[in-house]
């Protein structure tokens, strides 16, 4: 069996959002972390390797969307090291200030450029269904078509059968079982597995695994970003956060219903 490539995004951490004075997203403040669903992709890569691809290697590819490198480098390496700790063998990181802020056009073309430049021969390319910052779920499909490979999106179960994968995918109106010949690109949902946290030994080993830093000048065919992010503003949802307490549950219920009635949302 060939190798596995897993796509890992150091994504802006939405839980650490902060606004500037005028309500714009304060990008400088927000740290990056490994995008949540990418953890499921790594876990699946490790499980499939252990089951079907004994002796194969798992490579990760990350393209840095949010710069500048001088500020983000530490977060990027932390996110990638999480993948290495979980079982990735070697990591490729495309970090170049000339392509930030990036977009899916750039990310997909850079991933394909890395695969070609470093002669990776994956039988399987795994990605999360979407990332927690942009959440548009399009990079895996772009990579598949650029490499001319079959693509299975929203997979929540993957098995190998001979030289094919059989996957259960969760599309709009149906759950479908599909079969695709390898090599193939698969995007996974959170339901596919329960990611195991790496052990201390794995975390210690991770820093010794190869991390290849790649510049734009090392690659061919990378398309510069087409999306111009004109503005990003924090969505301020102000909630009252009033805690309701009573001496008895009946009193609590009544106080709550009084409040809702005075808001005009119920008549009770």
């Amino acid at each position: 069996m060939g190798d596995i490539v897993v796509l890992l995004k150091p994504a802006l951490n939405p839980e650490m959002i902060r606004g500037t004075q005028d309500g714009s997203v304060d990008f400088d403040y927000m740290p990056l972390k490994l995008s949540d669903i990418d953890r499921n992709a790594v876990e699946e890569a490790v499980m499939l390797r252990d089951q079907y691809f004994k002796g194969s290697k798992i490579y990760s590819i990350s393209v840095v969307t949010w710069g500048p490198a001088s500020k983000r480098d530490k977060d990027v390496k932390m996110a990638v090291q999480e993948g290495l700790a979980k079982g990735v063998d070697e990591a490729y990181i495309v970090e170049d200030d000339s392509i930030v802020p990036g977009d899916p056009v750039t990310t997909a073309s850079a991933i394909v450029a890395v695969i070609r430049k470093f002669g990776l021969k994956p039988d399987l390319i795994l990605a999360g269904e979407a990332t927690i910052d942009g959440f548009s779920g399009q990079v895996a499909g772009r990579v598949a078509v650029k490499l001319g490979l079959p693509y299975v999106s929203f997979a929540r179960k993957v098995e190998l059968k001979g030289n094919s994968i059989v996957a259960e995918r969760d599309v709009e109106d149906y759950v479908e079982v599909v079969e695709a010949p390898l090599p193939a690109v698969v995007s996974v949902t959170r339901e596919i597995n329960a990611p195991r946290p790496p052990t201390l030994v794995q975390i210690r080993m991770a820093s010794r695994k190869p991390q290849h830093m790649v510049k734009l000048s090392d690659l061919e065919g990378v398309v510069t970003p087409k999306r111009r992010l004109a503005a990003a503003r924090v969505l301020a949802v102000k909630r009252k956060q009033m805690m309701i307490e009573g001496k008895t549950l009946e009193e609590t219920a009544d106080k709550l219903l009084d409040a809702l009635a005075s808001e005009g949302v119920i008549k009770a």
């Binding site: 939405p14 977009d103 399009q138 709009e172 969505l235 909630r239 956060q241 805690m243 307490e245 549950l249």
Partner: protein
């Protein structure tokens, strides 16, 4: 020559997308799956139809029309099949693509739009050069009007490489949670499927629809996905949202930002939902919800 292309599988979706696409002039329609092409032809645009609805077949059909028409703008609803199909078209030609967009404006050689960002905690305003692929958010624009002229209908064929071996329709309870005025929503605080009846009884007393968090629909499958509220489920905008036994993961909160009043009932006083609600009750739902239901019934019939 048409300058835009609309893709979809229902007349509602296609009529909304047409409203956006017509900003640029004439359009063509690519319809897939089980849809009434005769009715679509009444919008006055040429209709291409592919019977299959799997993402790869839709991509192959869309590509065929794209290569022929070379539109500057591709507009479609946001759904999983089209995220898949159109990401392939976008990848093939390095087109910019965005999902869940609204406030779309097209001028000259570029398009601008707004969309959710950072798991629903922010909005981004973007500008992209044409040609571009835009998957629009549902119900943000009116439906386009039909026209006097009738468009031609052309059938397309597609031969995908990914074989569909089996397909199971998703459970649909006939609810439209996105338009519900009142929602009682359930989460992992419920210990079994049977216990959800506590919430059903409250919902019935209030005249509310039932919503749920991701684990209830996606992992445990106690409820169908049409009840699922959140970033990957449905975005809701009720005047009252009652979250029972829901901790308040960011992805869930992203689905309720448009709710007018949010009530949280949870036994864990440190649950994030309490920082994101208007009224919070720290209580064991098994004790409190029946009392609340009883008081709602009594007060409504005073």
């Amino acid at each position: 020559m048409p300058t835009s292309m609309v893709v979809g599988s229902s007349e509602d979706d296609i009529a909304e997308a047409l409203t956006v696409a017509r900003q640029l002039g004439d359009a063509v329609i690519v319809a897939y799956g089980n849809v009434n092409t005769g009715s679509l032809a009444e919008y006055g645009h040429k209709v291409y139809h592919v019977k299959a609805d799997d993402p790869e077949s839709v991509f192959l059909a869309v590509k065929q029309v794209y290569d022929e028409v070379k539109p500057s703008l591709i507009v479609a609803p946001t759904n999983k099949n089209l995220k898949d199909a159109l990401s392939r078209l976008s990848g093939l030609y390095d087109l910019p693509m965005a999902t869940e967009v609204f406030n779309v404006k097209v001028s000259g050689s570029s398009a601008s739009y707004t969309r959710g960002f950072l798991s629903g905690r922010a909005l981004e305003d973007d500008q992209v050069p044409l040609p571009a692929v835009l998957l629009i958010a549902a119900r943000k624009v009116p439906r386009a009007q039909k026209s006097q002229a009738k468009g031609e209908v052309v059938e397309l064929q597609a031969s995908p490489t990914v074989k569909v071996i089996e397909r199971r329709p998703k459970e649909r309870g006939g609810v439209n949670i996105e338009t519900a005025e009142l929602i009682v929503s359930v989460g992992r605080g419920f210990r079994s499927k049977e216990d959800l009846k506590l919430a059903f009884e409250l919902a019935e007393a209030l005249g509310a629809q039932i919503g749920c968090s991701r684990p209830i629909a996606a992992d445990l499958k106690w409820l169908g996905e049409d009840h699922w509220v959140g970033l990957s489920g449905h975005k809701v905008a009720p005047r009252l949202y009652v979250a029972i036994g829901i901790s308040g993961a960011p992805q869930h909160l992203a689905g309720i930002t448009d709710a007018k009043v949010v009530v949280a009932i949870n036994n864990d006083k440190s649950a994030p939902i309490f920082k994101n609600c208007d009224y919070g009750v720290v209580a064991d739902l098994y004790q409190f919800v029946p009392v609340l239901t009883k008081r709602v019934k009594e007060r409504l019939h005073r």
